[in-house]
């Protein structure tokens, strides 16, 4: 009785079953740019412990340039307690960014699962070829469903986490840039302040050769210190990039588009790459 009425309905049902998943897959934004952004930031963050060590070393070197006239020691003992805390804060920020990158990754193979070996297991279990085909089709469908689900879930979670933590990212980035990196820059500047004072005071017209050699040594040290200060400035610039990018992601969450993400995060990824090169050259 219902054959004529039910047939179009069941056809519509089949079409809906095929089209809706396709629409969902196509509607999910590719978050690869966020993954790339997170990867690019990691090599900047990983240099921080070396910067911290260098600051303590600079303080000790500065004190080695003290003279009877300029004999006020710099307080180097502070680094023993300060550095572990600052390294931990840097790690908190960059681990957070790394976790965003992993969550944004669309490569499900990075997520441990139990499905991939199923076809082989069915074969080994002695299931007939025909039944293996059925099971294999079910396996393919299961993967598609997982992909649809995981994409939506991933975007939802990523969006929520970015929204909940934007203020913390802004505050921690500012702290690391203004206070932590600022402090380390001061350490390097003070190494140079003490060294240049030593070089100036020790220069003597009575000993031109020794004075010339000392001036050359001081100039070489100045170049080395300048390179490290430049690298710390790059680290600070990278923090600013991270801060701005996170703010952009937060502002546009809920309507991320692949094209827009690529347009906005592309230059930031390049900028982080340059900062990483500068930091890793010096530290």
């Amino acid at each position: 009785m219902c054959s004529s009425a039910c047939a179009p309905r069941s056809r519509r049902y089949v079409i809906a079953c095929l089209v809706i998943p396709l629409l969902v897959i196509c509607g999910c934004t590719d978050l690869d740019e966020i993954t790339q952004f997170a990867k690019a930031s990691q090599s900047v963050g990983s240099a921080f412990p070396s910067i911290a060590e260098q600051a303590a070393e600079s303080c000790a070197v500065a004190n080695s340039f003290r003279t009877p006239q300029m004999n006020t020691p710099l307080p180097c003992d502070v680094y023993a307690s300060l550095n572990p805390a600052l390294v931990k804060i840097n790690a908190a920020l960059f681990n957070y960014i790394a976790s965003l990158g992993k969550l944004a990754s669309d490569d499900l193979s990075k997520v441990p699962g139990g499905m991939d070996k199923l076809s082989d297991e069915l074969k080994q279990a002695g299931v007939s070829t025909q039944d293996q085909a059925k099971a294999s089709a079910a396996n393919g469908l299961a993967k598609a469903i997982t992909k649809i689900w995981a994409s939506g879930y991933r975007q939802h979670e990523l969006s929520r986490i970015v929204g909940d933590n934007n203020q913390a990212v802004q505050d921690v980035s500012d702290f690391l840039s203004d206070y932590a990196a600022g402090k380390y820059r001061q350490s390097l500047n003070d190494e140079w302040r003490y060294e240049t004072a030593y070089c100036t005071n020790a220069a003597s017209a009575a000993e031109p050769l020794a004075s010339d050699l000392l001036a050359r040594k001081c100039a070489a040290d100045h170049s080395r210190i300048e390179l490290k200060i430049k690298a710390i400035k790059s680290y600070q610039a990278a923090l600013n990039t991270i801060k701005e990018t996170h703010a952009t992601l937060n502002k546009e969450r809920g309507h991320w588009g692949a094209k827009q993400l690529s347009k906005e995060l592309g230059p930031q990824i390049v900028s982080l790459g340059s900062a990483a090169a500068s930091v890793n050259q010096a530290f």
Binding site: I89, A125, G126, S128, Q130, K134, V172, A180
Partner: protein
């Protein structure tokens, strides 16, 4: 008076600037100074630089106390992101069990020697794989918003 972290940082920068200005004066006018004057400049210069360091240290320590809550928030967020990945993994495993059950169903409908036992074994392995690393609290959050 209670100095804020920013006040201390600005004050440290001021001491550094004064130290630099003093040393600049010493370099420019060194030829007309006596040794005693040069020594006095060097002493003051070292003291100013050291004060700048001490103020900067206080600034960082003061700001450290303020930032504590934000750091804890980021550590929690990192944990949440890792947990979200674990949820995805758990769903994959759950679907794996469903697929294994389909294999068992096919074997039951078309029985041949060993197929049912083999498919049952596959299903058991899938369940064991899913149970190997259960995510804490994953079950309640397994559905994406809007799906």
């Amino acid at each position: 008076m209670q100095w804020s972290a920013l006040d201390l940082k600005n004050l440290a920068a001021l001491f550094d600037d004064v130290a630099d200005a003093l040393w600049s004066f010493r370099i420019q006018n060194g030829s007309s100074m006596t040794q005693a004057e040069k020594d006095a400049f060097a002493t003051r210069y070292g003291q100013l630089v050291s004060y700048g360091e001490q103020l900067e240290n206080k600034a960082v320590q003061s700001a450290l106390a303020d930032i504590d809550g934000d750091v804890a928030a980021l550590q929690n967020a990192t944990h949440n992101a890792t947990h979200a990945l674990q949820v995805i993994s758990d769903v994959q495993k759950a679907i794996g069990i469903g697929v294994a059950a389909v294999g068992l169903g096919a074997a039951v409908l078309n029985p041949s020697p060993g197929t049912i036992a083999g498919s049952l074994n596959t299903l058991v392995q899938s369940i064991q794989s899913a149970a190997a690393k259960p995510a804490t609290g994953a079950s309640g959050s397994g559905v994406p918003a809007g799906s």
